[in-house]
Symmetry: C2
Subunit: 233 residues, 2 copies
DNA sequence: CGGCGCAAACATACGCCGTAAGAAAAAGCG
DNA sequence: CGCTTTTTCTTACGGCGTATGTTTGCGCCG
């Protein structure tokens, strides 16, 4: 039953309301369930009505990632430990993404460079600068942490998605692979996968933060070393 | 002109040919240009014909990420320096992703757990294990590096996309932001953005590898420390 | 209080999409 | 050559995003 209103009374529909309904719909039924007609039904309104509040579907999707990005508290950095602040920020961002896993593909492909986000970024850069990072390195740190969090969240959500295709909930190996064929892989996945993902996240995050700290304290860059990368022309 | 053949001669169409044409089309005109009808035209064939070689559009998209993943050489690890091998692997993966930026959203949302990929993963895990990582930490390392690379590639491609919306090629600030409002941000972006992105990638990658090396050499885990994260219930 | 302007909501229509179902054509094979 | 098998084409259905034009009811001004 599509939330009908007695015909004639106005909805007072709002961009915010549209975005919230869209986010709820995506959380409930996935990205592919989000169509203008469907979202209209959800709000008791015709599809075209939504165009009074969002320019088009692209803008609606942009609005979804905006909702998520704005929901995470900006990094709180005191000069004593920039690492603690970045760690909290990374965890908060991961939590926000995990709360809306179906939006992650959107977050990945849409840069969130709205004005409020840029201000958050600017203040974070200032804090990191006061902690001893040169400006461009501060940007490196912020970008790297967010990139890492987003990539990790994407991988985790993709795995959860395929894991739900086989809809049995016994805790056995979700990817049933031959222990003889993949001994190390099976050994590595023996740990409870949920803890494993979180543990991996913490492990790599600590490694990154430690690496950044090492780069910060040493004036000379700790750059590549013997580098044999290849690059496209 | 849609590559017509004189009616009657057969194409000898192949799954591989379909995937290559699809990848070329996506590279040329973006993900949204990839439809079964359009891809059929590209190959001089009706849309439904494609279903003889791919089960449905989902499978075709899976095939696209498969193409990319298989195109990057597996990590070559000699016991002397696991870091060099992982660094090369990261660079190769980044290069492959940057060659097909429009496929990145697909790579992000589709776990590439096909049999050949699992074998590559297994052999990488063995090498890392021989370098002194416990099995689960080896998995952490591989996952973290790939997550990081994918996240970084996604961010870079998203930025390049918005940067092309304003189609002027003067090298000025691609995100024209007020230097008074965002002093640190503008300072940080003063470096040539192309080099900046690559430099940031190398910087963070080295930090991660250094952090992993530190974790490997110390038996005691270098875990979080004073942790004030919050988590959803 | 009455009418009117205007923004919000509705209704219709167009050209796309993915793909199910069946006809037709080509290719292999005795 | 006829028969089977596989590939390709044709048609059709429901759903999509949205351009376009009409209706509706609230708030304001006289």
């Amino acid at each position: 039953m599509p939330a009908r209103r007695t015909r004639g009374q106005r909805a007072g529909l709002t961009r915010q309301a549209v975005l919230e309904a869209a986010l709820a719909l995506v959380d409930r039924e996935g990205l592919q369930a989000l169509s203008m007609r469907r979202l209209g039904n959800e709000l008791g309104v015709e599809a075209m009505t939504l165009y009074n509040h969002v320019a088009n579907k692209e803008a609606l999707l942009d609005g979804l990632v905006e909702q998520i990005v704005l929901s995470v508290a900006p990094p709180q950095l005191d000069a004593s430990s920039w690492q603690a602040g970045m760690r909290d920020f990374a965890h908060a961002l991961l939590t926000a993404l995990r709360a809306h896993p179906d939006v992650i593909p959107l977050v990945v492909s849409r840069p969130a460079t709205t004005a409020p986000n840029l201000h958050v970024l600017e203040s974070t850069l200032r804090s990191l600068h006061e902690s001893g990072f040169p400006a461009h390195r501060a940007l490196d740190v912020v970008y790297s942490v967010t990139n890492f969090v987003v990539g990790h969240a994407a991988t985790m959500s993709a795995q959860n998605a395929t894991e739900q295709d086989t809809d049995d909930d016994q805790p056995g190996p979700l990817l049933d692979l031959d222990a003889d064929e993949f001994p190390f892989l099976t050994a590595a996945m023996r740990v409870e996968p949920r803890i494993g993902a979180q543990g991996r996240f913490d492990f790599a995050l600590e490694a990154m933060l430690a690496g950044f700290e090492a780069a910060r304290t040493s004036a000379s860059a700790p750059e590549p070393g013997p580098d044999r990368r290849r690059e496209q022309p």
